[in-house]
Symmetry: C2
Subunit: 236 residues, 2 copies
């Protein structure tokens, strides 16, 4: 029975830029699973009303509907125990949960301020009013004013990334010699940036850049070949 | 054969306030191990010269000398595999290493600015000149000027603690139902504050306060009974 994954899409239906949907996409690839990836827009609440809430990712597995990227990852390891584990040992899920929380509560609020206007530019026409209104209310200023404050946010993000950089100086992946869900949590954020924005946050000699490169190449270049707005330089 | 642990001490030799030494102290307790805890001051470089470097913690186990709290934790799990594991499952050490890096590179630089002058007040007379000179050079201002800037650092620390707070709303310890080394990494930082300073960083209803309380009570109240400058309120 095929899995169905609802993913946030832009005006180009192939542009799938949600960080949380990317976590799930990498998790599915890690487990060798395919899903029918359905494009979804912010304002298409009725299309996922069956899930009892209004956000993606939503994973449908026959009679089961699972929402929230973290719960989907836990579900996948429970439902498909014979495939490669996202949480390979006892106690790994607990600490990966912290990495997920760090990504979402420390990195994401800094990153969104850098790419907010770029995200707006990607959106389907029908999502634009909703997005501008909800985000301008959240930030208390126009999208353009948030974007104009970008430089200090890039510096703050670089500082916040320090512990990840320190670990990636020592080994290829946060999870060790091979990636696992903790890596995908953070990588999803970088795919959000790559898909929605031409901004370059990382220098090519940054251990985080090199880690990102390895994950772009993982699973047959799944992430590298995805529709995106980042233009690749000679080193990428 | 008894283990020997060199720990940073204040003018009161029972005041042991180093965050990194507290990581090791909790790790030893977790494994049910005792150590002969030797007080050491910043300027007593000759006393640990045998370790090939000039910082504590230093653990001596017969012919073996291990430095750096992270390497000591790894050593303890390898050397005493029959005792309770600090890294209980495959892949846990890798993610705990990230938690340690997050503590040391994100939380610690914010925290030290809050308690810097309090630490100075704890020091043995012979350490004071060294500490003032080295820290004033690092911060580019007097200890008193760093302390005067405390309030924004407390706010920044509260924000940085957000992912930990989010996880501790869900379960009693970062590592799950029981604490493990990832918890001790962060708890060491809170013991640094508790031992050296009367400042209160956490409100009694904060999930982090409640987690800290549980760890203060762990191992027969080992940490709660330690000499400290925090005065306990009715809720602590």
């Amino acid at each position: 029975m095929a899995l169905v994954l609802y993913e946030l899409a832009g005006s180009d239906p192939d542009l799938r830029f949600s960080p949380h949907c990317w976590k799930v996409r990498m998790a599915l690839a890690h487990k060798g699973l395919n899903a029918d990836r359905q494009p979804w827009r912010f304002t298409e609440k009725e299309a996922i009303a069956f899930s009892g809430q209004g956000k993606v990712p939503v994973l449908v597995d026959s009679d089961e509907t699972v929402t929230d990227s973290w719960r989907i990852a836990e579900y996948l390891d429970m439902r498909f125990p014979e495939t490669s584990a996202l949480f390979p040992g006892t106690g790994v899920a607990e600490l990966a949960h912290f990495v997920n929380a760090w990504t979402d509560t420390t990195l994401l609020p800094l990153t969104v301020r850098i790419i907010l206007l770029d995200i707006y530019d990607c959106l389907d026409a029908k999502d634009r009013d909703y997005f501008r209104r909800s985000r301008e209310e959240r930030f208390g200023k126009s999208l353009e004013a948030v974007a104009a404050d970008g430089a200090p946010n890039i510096a703050a993000l670089q500082t916040a990334l320090t512990p990840l950089r320190q670990i990636l100086k020592k080994r290829p992946y946060l999870s060790g010699d091979a990636p696992a869900y903790a890596d995908y949590c953070i990588f999803g954020l970088f795919m959000w940036v790559r898909c929605s924005s031409p901004v370059r946050l990382l220098e090519p000699d940054d251990p985080i850049f090199l880690w990102r490169d390895r994950l772009l190449d993982a699973f047959g270049g799944l992430a590298r070949s995805a529709t995106c707005r980042e233009t690749e330089g000679p080193t990428s």
